[in-house]
Amino acid sequence: MPIQFILVQNRQGKTRLAKWYVPLDDHDKLAIKEDVHKTTSQRDQRQQSNFVEFRNDMLVYRRYAGLFFCVCVSLTDNFLASLEAMHLFVEVLDTFFGNVCELDLVFNFYKVKSSRDNRGACDELERGDWHFRH
């Protein structure tokens, strides 16, 4: 069900991918990016869960190497399934770029966005299978 936004940030807080599914002002977006960075970088990976409450919604995040992949969903969603969907997206990126790293995302950001749009347009999950066309 509704995803509010998807954010990929590195450990310094630089945004590598941002996809918003709700209309927001620019300074709102900036405030959210900073907040998300503060929240995720302070959590202890080993001892704490991947879900944290964020402004009336739930932020589902996971750290892959040096990048934090964050998906903001509503509180009534299935968080475990969101985690799986996020993981599937990462695996697709890996298959597409062949052993993906942060630089791949930086230099090919428009391809990453298109790939994301193929997986789930307008805030719903679109396909759970492995075919990646583009």
Binding site: P23, K33, S49, F51, L80, A81, A121, E124, G128
Partner: protein, 560 residues
């Protein structure tokens, strides 16, 4: 010379400071603006790409909106792709520039190339406004019936957005939606089901109508579980978990509040719950969705117990996420079926000592919800043990709740008094005024307990006078019932050989000088001294000295 995208990104990454980066971006923005004015189509692509990168870094890039619109009108696929991407990033439904795109969208939806149609549907689905939805609705409806599953899939998602923006248009899509359950393609099926789900959420008449599809959904789910390994849809050994979760979600919506529909689902829900492998997160996600569904519909009691047992198993899982999710769900189910949750009380109490603070918080909430008259002693003992080691942020609410619980469920007065005293000893600083008043009231109403209470408080305060609430209560009781203390009557359980006034006066004077006195405490200590004086009829030397000291140091109020 137009700077290529890669070069530009390299330049930015080479900047050492934020000021450097701002300078590079400003220079390039100016260059782009000049190039855009020239309006040549050759480098438009590169310029817009650079603009999008600048936008992602957080700098303003709105002057590129018109460029994106122009790109979309170009016949080249790469241009269109970038143009639509730019539109989705730089525009949103509140901007007027969006209406300029409507015509391009309409044309592209009739394009022979399916990827172009896909792009258009995607853009419409992401940022369409009310007006655009109305205009382009017939196109989307036509595409829902396309023979190409790729297009059908995207059209369904687009339709969701349209009916969210303009609920009246739902009627247009209903006839198309009936054939969705016959879909073979998983992608189209997934999005189609989401569309049905959205319709049912927005319109209850549609919901009633779709209840008839429950048997078909049940059959679909069964098929998914029993099929062998399918490499296309497999995730860690489970066939298309996303589709399974989606079907379960829809079943939940259709089954809530309806007995016939719920009955039709019972079998398959039990089947999924018992057959899904819970060792990986994928399996657990499906099990979690099943549990939520079982608890929402009108399920048989055995099924409900099965659901709560699954949650109990989750609680014992090593993975933090799963424990968190289980605790959250259990809190919601207590209201529905408290008995079954009691069985997992021990595990919940264990979670109180978990390493993750949000799990501890949830476990605490759940623990309090689990208390009822029969188990109040055990639970309170555990909770008090936890209070000793609890974080600072937990103490105040915990204290308040323990006192409230003690009040509600106390089996007898002595236990109540004991509990309150113990709470004050452990966390006296967080005790509110009302609680002290409550303790005092309790003591007043139970004459047989006064002696016991007074003795106990006396010894506790003698040992440790740091807890403000405790001192407060102790001083008051000593003041009221000091004669009992002095005469040594009763109080066998307190085991205090209360001999004579000396022992009594010492801590009193100690209190006067030692306590970081708040005014009420002072007044009470003075009252205490008064009663001692009255009761004893003779003032021993140390006490007199102490009192004069006190007056001399100027702390005393006119009371004395």
């Amino acid at each position: 010379m137009v700077v290529r995208l890669k070069e530009f990104i390299k330049q930015i990454r080479a900047c050492k400071t934020a000021a450097d980066e701002r300078a590079v971006v400003a220079k390039e923005s100016a260059a782009i603006r000049t190039l855009l004015k020239e309006d040549s189509s050759d480098h438009r692509h590169t310029n817009v790409a650079k603009l999008l990168y600048i936008h992602m870094l957080g700098y303003p890039a709105h002057f590129g909106q018109m460029e994106c619109v122009k790109l979309v009108a170009s016949p080249r696929f790469a241009d269109k792709r970038l143009g639509y991407l730019g539109i989705m990033l730089l525009l949103d439904e509140n901007q007027e520039t969006l209406t300029l795109v409507t015509n391009s969208l309409k044309n592209d939806m009739n394009h022979p190339n399916m990827y172009v149609i896909g792009l258009a549907l995607c853009t419409l689905g992401n940022i369409s406004s009310v007006a655009m939805s109305r205009d382009l609705c017939p196109e989307v409806e036509k595409l829902l019936a396309s023979s190409n599953s790729y297009i059908r899939k995207k059209a369904a998602l687009c339709a969701i957005r349209i009916i969210r923006k303009v609920p009246d248009l739902m009627e247009v899509f209903i006839p198309r939606v009936r054939s969705i359950l016959g879909e073979r393609n998983h992608g189209a099926l997934l999005t189609g089901l989401t569309l049905i789900q959205e319709m049912c959420t927005l319109n209850s008449a549609v919901l009633t109508e779709f209840r008839a599809t429950v048997p078909a959904l049940v059959k679909l789910l069964k098929q998914l579980i029993t099929t062998g390994y399918s490499p296309e849809h497999d995730v860690s050994g489970i066939t298309d978990p996303f589709l399974q979760v989606k079907i379960l979600r829809l079943l939940r919506q259709l089954g809530t509040g309806d007995a016939t529909a719920s009955e039709q689902m019972n079998d398959v829900l039990a089947h999924v719950a018992t057959n899904t492998d819970g060792s990986k997160n994928v399996g657990n996600a499906i099990l979690y969705e099943t549990v939520l569904t079982i608890l929402a519909i009108q399920a048989e009691p055995t099924l409900r117990v099965l659901a709560i047992n699954i949650l109990g198993k989750f609680l014992a899982n090593k993975d933090n996420n799963i424990r968190y999710v289980a605790l959250q769900t259990l809190i919601k189910t207590i209201a529905v079926d408290g008995q079954a949750v009691q069985r997992h009380r021990a595990t919940v109490l264990e979670c109180l000592r978990d390493a993750d603070v949000s799990i501890r918080r949830r476990a605490l909430e759940l623990a309090f919800a689990l208390i009822y008259p029969q188990n109040v002693r055990v639970m309170t003992r555990e909770l008090l043990a936890f209070l000793e080691v609890a974080d600072v942020e937990f103490r105040a609410p915990m204290v308040a709740q323990i006192c409230a619980t003690a009040d509600r469920f106390a089996p007898n007065k002595r236990w109540h008094l004991d509990t309150l005293i113990r709470v004050m000893k452990l966390a006296g600083n967080y005790v509110r005024e009302e609680t002290v008043a409550q303790l005092v009231r309790l003591a007043t109403n139970a004459p047989d307990l006064q002696a016991y209470g007074v003795h106990k408080l006396y010894w506790l305060v003698k040992a440790d006078a740091a807890q403000e609430g405790l001192v407060h209560a102790a001083v008051w009781t000593m003041g009221e019932f000091g004669d009992v203390l002095v005469s040594g009557a009763g109080g066998a359980a307190a085991a205090a050989p209360a001999s004579g006034e000396d022992q009594d006066d010492e801590p009193a004077s100690g209190l006067l000088t030692g306590t970081p006195a708040a005014a009420p405490t002072e007044a009470e200590v003075i009252a205490l001294l008064e009663s001692i004086l009255i009761g004893a009829c003779s003032v021993s030397a140390p006490v007199a000295v102490a009192i004069w000291h006190f007056i001399a140091s100027g702390f005393v109020s006119p009371l004395l």
